[in-house]
Amino acid sequence: MDFRWDVVWNALPQMVDGAQLTAQITLLGIGGGLLIGTLCGLITAFRVPVLHWLVFVYVSVIRGTPIVVQAMFIYFALPLAMDITLSGFAAASLCLALNAGAYITEIVRGAVQSIDKGLQDAGLALGLSYPQVLLSIVGPLAFRRTIPPLGNQFIISLKDSALFLVIGVAELAQRGEQLTAQTGRALEIWTAVAVFYLIMTFILAMIMRLIERRMRIL
């Protein structure tokens, strides 16, 4: 079987569109996930009364169910249950943010808890207030430790966005499916789709590597 480059060439504009949508969903997803995860991670690390139980339930539910089911739930079930209707794009971004948020919660909690208690003691012994200790010592150190696992999570989130083809969002994977149906050339289309994903995850990995190098992990 020969590889028809012209199929790839003709599909390119649509794939670029799909890749753009994938990038947008991913950026919103990891941005939202960072916000949720940082907040929830701090809540669990410091065992904020009551709230840390809510976070525990949230993390358990997200980690305990497949992301496809979460996407289906948000897109199809939420309108029935609570009269909230979201566009495919909004549902996908929200789903990814909630999903990444749960995992980032654990990353942040782990990073904060891994900071040597002795450093906190040293800060307090100097006469710093607890918020000052968090801001000047625990925070910067914990932040550095989140970077490698965050890079991992970002790449997982980017790839997970392919699942949103189940709710008809025209991201990269969904374009792949459509284009295959139109052209009947599965080999060319899925190879090209894979290369697109590879490029995007590679860029993400490079960015994380750069941040990591600029900031020595301690």
Partner: protein, 244 residues
């Protein structure tokens, strides 16, 4: 108001274990108090209670005229009167030696970058590390790290220095440089409480020796007298163990 530290019937419990029982202690300006005792006797916990890193379970604590529990006295106010040096140094790994020393003056005393920087340079010079000020802790030897830690503790201008086994994590050949800095501080009249196993240092530098056992102060007196004529079998046993 001649005493810097006063505790009355200070007790500390972790759950049901009593770590400190009815500690009565007064420390006056210029005293160099060395605290010795078997592990688990409560020496370190006592130091940590004196600057409220551990909340006390019972009794009264007064440091530099500030009484714990008094209206308007925060834990922080007591901690500002004390400087602490830890067994594991606990330098902030993301800051250079200079930044480690500057943090206290800047955040606690509200000094400007320049003031704090000048103070840090002076203190690093005093501990013999002027040429290491831009190194990170990971680039320093254990002895150097501990000397930076001493400079950091001095930077907030404490009235009492607390040393929690400052040489226990160091190789024997690195202990001397730290002990020398401490000896210099003592000679300058700094009030110090030192938990250590360095009996030579205790005999040479301490103005007062405290022997703790099972959470109590068993002996409290002149180091020379206590070393020469141990008043109890418990202390005699302890000395035999550490000296062998």
């Amino acid at each position: 108001m001649s005493r810097l530290i006063a505790c009355r019937n200070l007790s500390k419990r972790f759950g049901t274990t009593e770590v400190l029982r009815d500690i009565n202690l007064e420390v006056h300006p210029g005293e160099v108090v060395v605290i010795v005792g078997p592990s688990g006797s409560g020496k370190s916990t006592l130091l940590r209670c004196l600057n409220v890193l551990e909340p006390i379970s019972d009794g009264e604590l007064e440091v530099g005229g500030k009484r714990l529990g008094d209206r308007g006295t925060r834990k922080r106010d007591i901690r500002r009167e004390t400087g602490m040096v830890f067994q594991q140094f606990n330098l902030f790994p993301h800051m250079t030696a200079r930044d480690n020393v500057m943090l206290g003056p800047r955040k606690v005393r509200g000094q400007s970058r320049r003031e704090a920087g000048e103070l840090a340079d002076r203190l690093l010079n005093r501990v013999g590390l002027a040429d290491r000020s831009h190194h990170y802790p990971s680039e320093l030897s254990g002895g150097q790290q501990q000397r930076v830690a001493i400079a950091r503790a001095l930077a907030v201008n404490p009235r009492v220095m607390l040393f929690d086994e400052p040489t226990s994590a160091l190789d024997p050949e690195l202990r001397g440089e730290v002990l020398q800095v401490m000896q210099g501080l003592a000679a300058d009249g700094m009030t110090m409480l030192i938990v250590t196993h360095e009996m030579r240092f205790a005999a040479d530098v301490a103005s007062r020796l405290i022997f703790m056992d099972e959470g109590r102060i068993l002996h409290d007196g002149n180091p020379k007298t206590l070393f020469q004529d141990p008043p109890s079998d418990r202390f005699r046993d302890f000395l035999r163990h550490v000296q062998s």
